[in-house]
């Protein structure tokens, strides 16, 4: 069979939280023939989408799809304290089904947010956050600060579409904005900046608090004239500039959430940005990593009231990061089964936490082989989001988009797999 090729416009790439929606894909005979507008990572993602695909598997042996799904249901229904984890690279529909499944099983449910921007969400619960959608920043922002974030390597088209190099309404191009980077190392993003402030590792909190003081007209003391490795006079200049801009923006990354202080770093940044609104406008946006990690918090919240780290053992949602979060549950060996949805904890969690997955029955739902499918007892394949499966995803600024499938896939999507497992457990 030889079909005419068809071109799809404005396809949404699901790799990172920037969710670029201008990808152009040419398809022929159910295969991707050509890709336009994609960044280097996105291109690889599309090129690889139909390769290395999982098949249904139980203990390393290929089985029928339904058998793998039933095995998953059996594991979860016989577990006393299961963990459902991942979620950030799947659709909101699958996330919704996963919360329902967690409720049915009395499970813990956590997303990769807890090892990503989760601490930022904890900070938001303390102080709130002044934020905006990406287009607002593109159109208005005259000062962009990247703090512990390196979009050139993690969100490659961010600069062009939304920030540094974008063409906005009031800010037409690069010249109309001042770009500032705070980081412990001179990242490729830092090389695009007007000013690079090299942070001494684990000193973000001190620097942010110093900036807060300087903005409010007080000067912190420092014996060597530096705070967190940065000359105080330079911070003072920056604080004055921050007060004068019309619409400043801070994009923050793992440099704040993963280093010492964790949520308190983000708390300090959020407090600073909040205070700057007494002068001009200032907003901040987390540089969300996975395509729909924002959606995982959103979907969890409207159903449970909480963004991640939720436990259903009492038939209602309870929330406690540090207790019901994946790393802690695995490290303390509290869970007795795991259902990993569209994530690769064997690669991304601390080794000791990931190792425990080998000791308990582990189910993985993923279109591609990864390091966790290697150790899984049950592997369930699924259609590739945004290519062979439709659904809803939320950008880093909570803008929802609908993925449209453009290839036929051999397997059902994540949402139907998770729902099916739920039905099997209910009818058990």
């Amino acid at each position: 069979m030889n079909e005419e090729s068809k071109t799809y416009q404005n396809i949404i790439c699901t790799f990172c939280g920037a969710l670029c929606d201008d990808i152009e894909i040419k398809v022929k005979n159910n295969k991707i023939e050509n890709i336009k507008n994609a960044c280097a990572i996105s291109r690889k993602k599309y090129e690889h989408a139909q390769k290395d695909r999982t098949v249904p598997q139980i203990k390393g042996k290929e089985v029928k799809y339904n058998k793998a799904v039933s095995a998953a249901a059996e594991i979860l229904s016989s577990s006393r304290n299961p963990l459902i984890y991942g979620l950030s690279s799947t659709t909101a529909e699958a996330q919704k089904a996963a919360v329902e499944l967690a409720e049915k099983c009395g499970a813990n449910i956590d997303s990769t947010s807890s090892v990503c921007h989760g601490p930022g969400t904890l900070a938001k619960q303390l102080v709130g956050m002044v934020s905006a959608t990406l287009g607002e920043v593109k159109n208005r922002s005259d000062m962009m600060i990247f703090w512990g974030a390196n979009p050139v390597e993690a969100h490659p088209n961010h600069a062009k579409r939304y920030s540094i190099l974008s063409q906005g309404m009031y800010r037409k191009n690069r010249k109309d904005r001042e770009i500032i980077v705070f980081d412990v190392r001179k990242t490729p993003t830092a090389k695009l900046a007007d000013h690079f402030f090299q942070v001494k590792p684990n000193s973000d909190f001190e620097i942010l608090m110093a900036l807060q003081m300087l903005v409010s007209g007080r000067t912190p003391t420092s014996e060597d004239g530096r705070i967190g490795g940065i000359e105080l006079v330079k911070l003072k200049d920056l604080a004055e500039k921050m007060k004068k801009v019309k619409y400043g923006s801070v994009f923050y990354g793992m440099g704040l959430t993963m280093s010492r202080g964790k949520y308190m770093n983000t708390w300090a940044a959020m407090s600073l940005v909040r205070n700057l609104n007494d002068y001009g406008r200032f907003v901040m946006i987390p540089m969300r990593g996975h395509g729909n990690v924002a959606g995982s918090e959103i979907t969890m919240a409207w159903q449970t009231g909480y963004p991640f780290a939720v436990n259903f053992s009492r038939n209602y949602p309870r929330y406690n990061p540090g207790e019901f979060s994946a790393v802690d549950l695995l490290a303390r060996r509290e869970v007795d089964a795991a259902f990993i949805i569209a994530s690769d904890p064997a690669a991304s969690l601390p080794h000791e936490a990931a190792e425990y997955l080998k000791k308990i029955p582990t189910i993985v739902l993923d279109p591609h082989w990864n390091l966790t499918t290697e150790i899984a007892d049950v592997v369930i394949p699924s259609a590739v989001k945004g290519i062979g499966a439709s659904g809803t995803v939320y950008r880093m600024d909570h803008v929802p988009l609908q993925l449209r499938k453009f290839l036929d896939d051999s397997w059902p999507d994540d949402a139907s797999a998770v729902s099916r497992i739920g039905e099997l457990i209910e009818n058990d």
């Binding site: 690889k44 993602k45 190392r185 793992m254 690669a347 082989w369």
Partner: protein, 117 residues
């Protein structure tokens, strides 16, 4: 040569790691893009290392052997891309937040016995 001197471990994203992570986790590319450590040039010299040589890194949570690369880094920082190798050095204590200390952890390095300079 053992050394009590400590460094600060930063794990993070790189474009190559990102590209490899979506191109098959079991491919050699993914291993290549996540199984190395970047150090400042002076440190390489100090430890009598050259690019591609293996060193041992260890923290209070684990150890890993990785090959070296020169990186545009301050002397006290070592950088490893996110991935299974970096995670051998990261502990599971989350300070009650759910988040392990994936950046800013204290790490020691040790030149591997028998490695030629």
């Amino acid at each position: 040569m053992a050394d009590k001197r400590s460094f600060t471990l930063i794990t993070g994203r790189t474009i190559k790691q990102g590209m490899a992570s979506v191109s098959g986790k079991n491919n050699q590319n993914y291993e290549d893009s996540t199984a190395y450590v970047e150090l400042n040039e002076n440190i390489l010299e100090e430890y009598n290392l050259s690019e591609g040589k293996k060193i041992l890194l260890y923290t209070d949570s684990g150890e890993v052997e990785l090959s070296c690369k020169k990186g545009d880094l301050p002397e006290e920082i070592v950088f490893i891309p996110y991935g299974p190798q970096a995670n051998k050095l990261i502990g599971t204590d989350t300070d009650g937040t759910g988040m392990p200390s994936s950046k800013g952890k204290k790490v020691m390095i040790k030149r591997k016995e028998g490695e030629d300079s």
